[in-house]
């Protein structure tokens, strides 16, 4: 006599009910745990991640169609508006060219002085315009996607600037795109110096719209509201001298050991469609770093030396 459930003649499955939901959950959570452990351990999962993000790129492209559609209205701008814009751009260019003349002489002078000081001649690095494809996919992570990738020579750790200042750095390079971390991300730290006084600090991101925090400044540090904060080449990742932000608040708790300052980023974070990728030839080892290295060696060999400023603790992962 046939069993009741053998109405169709298909063979009975080995596990008629399949594993229970508890078992399924446990297996999948175990897999998640393994993945996390592997991630913590190192970069073993970089390759699979890259493959998956390449596989996801069509979906990402589709999901960006609505925002591209809204751009279409720009194609229908009137002649008058274009003319006005043209005027504006021409006058702007004239101004900038005038500034550039001054800059050329300053540059020559700077080179001369550097020669006198026998410092390395590094001034302007090679730059390229890049489109920002997508921004703020996740409000908790300040990242942007760029339309240039490994094929255009983008490398991990590369600095990105916009017209006003340092925007961030590349953290992931795919064949045709790259992902960059903005200076405002809570995970981002950039070595900076105060333009007026040369005070060194690290500017940490604090999340969207909250400015950069310069903490652990000496209690007698000379820094005040309105100071320009520029990037420093300590750490060899960012080109020196690009504006990072302007100090808006300096606070010092009475009796505390450290001062803290907040700077608003100079770059137009979260606005703008384009940015500049900066190619510094190599992570530049400049005079200060060389000295630091010598000092470290000296300390190791037991020679007492004067105390030097600590290295940036949170300056981004090595390339």
């Amino acid at each position: 006599m046939p069993a009741l459930n053998s109405l169709n003649n298909s063979p009975r499955p080995l596990f008629p009910r399949g594993p229970g939901i508890g078992v399924k959950t446990l297996i999948l959570l175990f897999a998640c745990g393994c993945l996390m452990a592997a991630e913590v351990d190192g970069d073993k999962l970089e390759k699979p991640r890259d493959w998956i993000s390449v596989a996801l790129s069509p979906v990402v492209w589709v999901s960006e169609i609505p925002s591209h559609l809204s751009d279409i209205s720009k194609y229908f701008s009137t002649r008058n508006r274009l003319l006005a814009e043209n005027e504006l751009l021409k006058s702007r260019q004239l101004q900038l060219e005038a500034q550039l003349q001054k800059y050329a002489s300053l540059r020559a002078e700077n080179l001369q002085i550097r020669n006198l000081l026998q410092a390395s001649k590094k001034l302007i690095d090679h730059v390229a315009v890049v489109d920002i494809m997508a921004a703020n996919q996740d409000p908790y992570r300040q990242q942007i996607a760029l339309n240039k990738g490994a094929r255009d020579g983008v490398y991990r750790g590369q600095a990105i600037v916009d017209a006003k200042g340092v925007l961030g750095q590349v953290i992931r390079v795919l064949p045709r795109t790259a992902i960059a971390l903005l200076v405002t991300d809570p995970d981002h730290g950039i070595p900076v110096e105060v333009n007026r006084t040369g005070l060194q600090a690290i500017a940490l991101g604090q999340g969207n719209g909250q400015g950069l925090r310069l903490s652990f400044l000496p209690a007698n540090a000379e820094i005040e509201q309105g100071d320009l904060v520029v990037s420093s080449s300590l750490g060899g990742r960012f080109p020196a001298g690009f504006p990072v932000g302007r100090v808006v608040k300096v606070s010092h708790t009475p009796g505390g050991h450290f001062k803290e300052a907040v700077a608003m980023p100079a770059a137009q974070v979260g606005r703008g469609r384009q940015a500049l990728l900066v190619w510094s030839e190599h992570p530049v080892i400049d005079q200060d770093q060389a000295e630091d290295a010598i000092a470290a060696e000296a300390i190791e060999s037991g020679v007492a030396l004067e105390q030097r400023p600590a290295k940036p603790a949170r300056a981004a992962p090595a390339p």
Partner: protein, 159 residues
């Protein structure tokens, strides 16, 4: 007995993934509802025959890669969410929509809490208030998602 709607299931998840990725203005980006958790919860409640667990795993990996989070963060959250929903299915499926909207608020909150916890574990701090805005928006969007999906299912059944 109707056929198991596997194609519809995967298609709806794909649409949810697209909705999750659509660029939003800065001001409202934090209010983006949890589209994929909502879609998975809908299917876990309504249709136990589809492969919700596998889908939760796959979508989670996709989210992790896209958001550049540690692999397993969204994945684990989604798997736990689907497990909870499969467990509570018998209760929640009896509720009318407005009641299920309220009953599911803790589910969204648990998901957000898990994301926050794992982020904290991996030392990625963020504004704590922004963490909880998706709970609100997901609760507001749940009736819409539910009714659209239910209407679609009815339309398919009539065909």
């Amino acid at each position: 007995m109707s056929r198991t709607p596997h194609p519809t299931f995967w298609l709806s998840l794909l649409i949810a993934f697209c909705l999750q990725l659509v660029p939003l203005a800065d001001a409202i980006a934090a209010l983006r509802p949890l589209w994929i958790p909502m879609m998975l919860v809908y299917w876990a409640l309504v249709e136990p025959r589809v492969h919700c667990f596998i889908a939760a795993f796959v979508m989670g990996i996709a989210l992790d890669v896209h958001y550049n989070t540690v692999l397993g963060q969204h994945t684990g959250g989604l798997v736990i969410l689907v497990y909870g929903m499969s467990r509570l299915r018998g209760i929640i499926i009896l509720f009318p929509v407005w009641q299920s909207t309220i009953a599911l608020i803790p589910a969204w909150a648990v998901y957000c809490l898990l994301m926050t916890l794992i982020d904290t574990l991996f030392r990625h701090s963020a504004d704590p208030w922004l963490r909880w805005t998706p709970v609100l928006s997901s609760a507001l969007f749940w009736p819409l998602v539910f009714s659209v999906m239910a209407r679609f299912a009815r339309y398919k059944a009539q065909e």
